[in-house]
Symmetry: C2
Subunit: 370 residues, 2 copies
């Protein structure tokens, strides 16, 4: 093979995670055209597999042809028109990004914030929802910048009480934790392929409820984005399969294989595997004075944020991260925003959620810090 | 390998085209993280290779993390604010799409149209540009819906005379025809990877001039799309390499390899190969009463639209296309819009621009129609 040498990496950052070899092989298959019945059969399978993982029967469940951040934008820009009110829960960088995206759409944003590493206060969110009576309520299920897991049902319920649509960020939780969009009452959700699905980045699984579809169809103003307009996307990703844009064939081959692997393991075993790996990681990191940022009951299993000991904060942590990458081939994630230099974010996502990977990291740290 | 059997296809439609085996292998390599220096070296190489093919030294030349239609949206939404005037040349479906995208941004659109299969009238375009004195002028270099190649320099010159920025669709021309963005005076251009680059769909190479970058930086209103805002994209795809969204690593590995293959062949030989294959195709199709839609001097080499003989119009052409796909594994493209049922679009793009592929198609047609 020509090109640069590609050394192996153990990707224990906040994503991308390592891609399953079967997914890599699936992506290397020769292409079908995007309107070829043979491809559309695979696309059907992908849409059905995503419904399963999202816990939804939503017909409009599909792999958007862009990354998770575009999925966020798709959910918000289809449901919101300029001037619409939205309540956004901001428990970290990705909640803040939702707020920024909603503002660019022209929505009037009410932010409810939490301290870094803590969940949103249900009382504060519900107060804001009842006071503002917004068009939409948006928050993050698995906040990748801090590793907190936000309980969903009470917030969704409060939103529905005032007739609001609910938008949920599931980028890091899909395929690592059970999702129940329909039972929770979620109207629009988005994810990414590069986390617990163990596929490369590049696609954003999204799902829209019937209420969301109706809302998009009855807008006064057209959706600002032609590319992300679900009224148009439904033409291709719905039953008719009419051309909108050219679907990313190879990435969808990979996602189909990734979904098969998840189905073979089953979400119960897969979830359990994530929790077991995270528990071993938290326990092991204590040896180095690294303590979890998040209270046990709100910790994500696939992404663990740890406070660094004083001796490792600031410039020292960057040096150690680079050393882990250069010498050991292990990537861990830095803190984002106000937590930069203070924490690490260690992902054990999808295929990577294994005790051997925890051991590899602990072993490398022991050699570097011992 | 698990999964569905994947039969070979000869993709002679308007894209995707067949992907070079080296590109498929490159995509199957294990991942690096999107901030890993080893990956950023490859990204540097990709950006440099794209500059070469675009004929530009624009620093802000990058593979956008979505398909060509998102590239179109990125070029327009960064340069236009609501209320801005734009003159759009509409010589087919993709010119019409530009117009639709600009309207959704809130721009005031003046459309200059041509008859299907003909280029835009330079006189009409220049009249409109001088009359409207727009913020931007947009048109398509290689119109994938009809196979016409629009001459660029005079239109770009007229736009600059009134201080307008020029947006050019190069989806089908990049890597098949020499482009000269800097010499022509193009401010924003977009392409796709699934045509003459012989990579899978999923990325949109884009390039923005210094004037375009200044325009985006001095807007009154923020760019509506957070995902496509070049002020933010410049943080990652510029020198700083700060996180914006997670780049599609595997697709970029593939693009890097695709660009290496183009560089090895050289654009002069590659262009020549496209012209030779197209000439053989046009000559060969006469046997079946299929005549080129476009006058010889305005014909694209990588995409040939042919008018079907009467006996093949309407339902018959669809039957024959399906027979070619099912039995021969050869995909050709249907007509779009008003040309549906009237024409075929036959792509000989990138790796596929070879006489043997022309022969395979002619042979299959001879067996089916003989």
């Amino acid at each position: 093979m020509s090109g640069r040498p590609h050394d192996r990496r153990l990707l224990l950052g906040p994503g991308p995670s390592n891609v399953h070899p079967r997914v890599l092989r699936a992506m290397a298959q020769p292409l079908y055209g995007h309107l070829d019945p043979a491809f559309l059969t695979i696309l059907d399978e992908v849409q059905s597999g995503l419904r399963e993982l999202f816990g939804s029967v939503n017909p409009l469940t599909l792999p958007l042809s862009a990354t998770g951040s575009a999925g966020m934008e798709a959910c918000l820009c289809n449901l919101l028109e300029p001037g619409d009110e939205i309540v956004v829960g901001v428990a970290g960088v990705f909640g803040a990004r939702m707020s920024e995206v909603a503002e660019r759409i022209g929505a009037r944003v009410t932010r409810v914030e939490s301290e870094p590493g803590t969940i949103l206060s249900e009382d504060e969110m519900i107060d804001a929802i009842r006071r503002v009576r917004p068009r939409a309520v948006a928050f993050v299920h698995a906040e990748t910048s801090t590793g907190v897991c936000q309980p969903v049902p009470n917030l969704a319920h409060a939103a529905h009480e005032v007739g609001a649509l609910v938008v949920l960020d599931c980028v890091t939780s899909l395929a690592g934790l059970p999702l129940e969009l329909d039972r929770w009452g979620i109207d629009a959700a988005y994810s990414g392929t590069q986390k617990c699905l163990s596929c490369p980045p590049g696609l954003s699984p999204v799902s829209f409820s019937e209420r969301a579809v109706e809302r998009a169809a009855s807008r006064k103003a057209k959706v600002q984005s032609w590319y992300l307009d679900i009224n148009l996307l439904a033409g291709y990703f719905g039953g008719e399969r009419v051309y909108h844009h050219t679907a990313p064939i190879s990435a969808i081959f990979g996602l189909a294989e990734g979904l098969r692997i998840v189905a073979e393991e089953g979400m119960q075993d897969r979830t359990q595997r994530h929790f077991a790996a995270a528990a071993a990681l938290v326990e092991g990191l204590r040896e180095f004075g690294m303590e979890p940022l998040v209270a046990p009951e709100h910790r994500l299993p696939m992404l663990t944020a740890v406070r660094l000991p004083k001796m490792l904060r600031g410039a020292e942590e960057a040096k150690l991260r680079h050393r882990l990458l250069d010498h050991w081939g292990i990537e861990v994630g830095a803190g984002l925003g106000t937590l930069a230099g203070e924490i690490w974010r260690i992902g054990l996502m999808g295929e990577n959620a294994r005790l051997t990977n925890v051991e590899s990291l602990l072993c490398a740290l022991r050699r570097e810090l011992g």
